[in-house]
Assembly symmetry: C2
Homo-oligomer: 114 residues x 2
DNA sequence: TTGAGATGTGACTGTTTGGTCACCTAAGTT
DNA sequence: AACTTAGGTGACCAAACAGTCACATCTCAA
């Protein structure tokens, strides 16, 4: 398995640290590795670098070399594509109406969120 | 990290087999484990069961016991929630305009997006 | 109540992944 | 040139994960 394409994006988004990293870029775009590393004290610069590399492989982050620094920019396009191919596929049709359906569908616990 | 909530959904969606499984439920909802396992010849029933368990933990699949069988239904709500919280957050605003990011990015540092 | 079909469980294995570190290169600064 | 600062690489380790198997349970039908 692994249709190669959107797979990278899904895998990249699977990690909470990576999502937080994207969030940090959303707040302030074009940051350097070290700048980002300072905002994540729980991790070393290398950990951040690795995550950024994964995000870059998935095209969720676009980089730009500026002398000896490397600027990181958020690229929302892959996310928009996933939204297109995937979410509108079956989430959109039901979306609103479905919220209470699953409760009554099972008529009992079904362990879903409270 | 791991904000506990949407994290499960992201992690569940990260696997291509799991997405294929959701697809199979989209085509024909309410299938049993063995029925699904037959559609995935590359895997044993146990593998399929494990994946279904993960999808169920993320509430992407809702189950219903029917005698000695267990029926699996797709639940698009978590996906819709992610779309809401995440995709509309920064994918929607730019979406189309962002395709030529590298051009404007090379302009200068772009601290706090124009 | 015997048997067969459907699902469940716990242990086990190989691979992937998150994270760190010692070291290295490139580009500025003085 | 000497020094500093930003980034990069490869090896390495521990934890998580995909996948399988032997075995157990539950339920229906004769």
């Amino acid at each position: 398995m692994g249709e190669g394409d959107g797979d990278l994006v899904f895998k990249a988004l699977a990690d909470a640290t990576r999502r937080a990293l994207l969030d940090a870029l959303f707040v302030a775009d074009g940051q350097t590795v070290t700048a980002l590393a300072e905002r994540f004290p729980t991790m070393t610069r290398f950990g951040v670098m690795k995550h950024l590399g994964i995000l870059e492989s998935a095209s969720l982050v676009v980089t730009l070399r500026r002398g000896r620094t490397k600027l990181h920019f958020l690229n929302p396009v892959p996310i928009a594509q996933i939204a297109d191919r995937w979410i509108s596929k079956y989430a959109a049709p039901f979306a609103g109406a479905l919220v209470d359906l699953d409760q009554q569908a099972s008529g009992h616990r079904a362990e879903s969120r409270s």
